[in-house]
Amino acid sequence: MKRWLAVTLLYLVFAGLIALFIWLVWPTLRDQTNNFINSAPEVVEDLSDQVQDKTEDGGVVSSVLPKSIDLETRMSEYAQKAAAWASTYLTNIISVISRAVVLIGVVPVILFFMLKDGRKLEDSLLYLVPRKYKAEGRAALSEIDEALGSFIVSRVVLNIILGALMYVGFLFIGLPYALLLVLISVVLNFIPYIGAIISAIPILVVAFMESPMMALWSLLIILAAQQIQDHILTPIIFGKTMAIHPVTIIVLLLLGGDLAGVLGMLLIIPAYIVVKILLTHIYKLFFQEKVEEIVE
């Protein structure tokens, strides 16, 4: 089959999947989102009551929380700050919508040509490399291509499995807004380590609003899913290829977050993979022999 035909067919399949998503999943997701937004003040109030009860009953929670906690005031302060932040950003709503529309319009076009002419991009990049180093350049590009491909596909597969595990668990314990919370969690889990912690916060808040027992069960489900991901799925899917030390990942995430926020945190690991492969090849090509000579 011709490549352009394959890409067009894929687009049609993709359009079908989006239609199926809109038909099957979207109504539930929309209702959950609307309900969540509408019941946000009640969530704060319920949470405040729950914490108040637990503080007054002299249990374990009361020993952890400070006596003088005024959660409602604190929560309303945070809500005001969040509203101010939202209004600052939403005043520019036309710009946001236009950017989203441009993104929705532009990405499929770029993607179409990337999928159709993937190899041509590699050739045009190799034009910049002197003839003497073309073979090495091609090897580096192939390595980058393979590493990025396996990294992205593995992460997506891992996060989908993690999301499915959590969703089944949350349905089992009857957690409200399960689909919405799991979707947020799946997106945030693309950020290693930190994403799992950030995504657990809204889940635990909603669960705690229902009952402390529900929060405990939710925490257990999150921990169990994370452990299955880390100790069973990751070694199978990732293997030992592109193993990055946890300390390196944390340093990279701090840098990425500081440079470009959440987007920076999402992009910093693939960028590190590219830079690492390029530097390794440059070192082998230009410096390895000289360094070995000096050492000997």
Binding site: M1, K2, R3, A6, V7, L9, L10, F14, V102, L103, V106, V107, I110, L111, M114, L115, G118, L148, G149, I152, V153, V156, L263, L267
Partner: protein
């Protein structure tokens, strides 16, 4: 001349440092490039992400 290589290296280092100094001094010169980067980074990275995700399927079809 034994010192020629040494002076060449020193001169290169000075020029590199000067280039870095000028880069920080004249930031406005790079503002359009930075802006262009900011505009392109999201669609390009999103396309790249989807490209690696869908490439195996395209490979399967072809």
């Amino acid at each position: 001349m034994p010192h020629a290589k040494f002076f060449r290296i020193i001169l290169s280092v000075i020029f590199v440092l000067l280039a870095i100094f000028l880069l920080f001094l004249d930031r406005f010169m790079f503002a359009p490039i930075v802006r262009m980067f900011e505009i392109l980074i999201l669609p390009i990275s999103l396309s790249g992400f989807l490209y690696y995700l869908l490439r195996p399927i395209v490979g399967f079809f072809t």
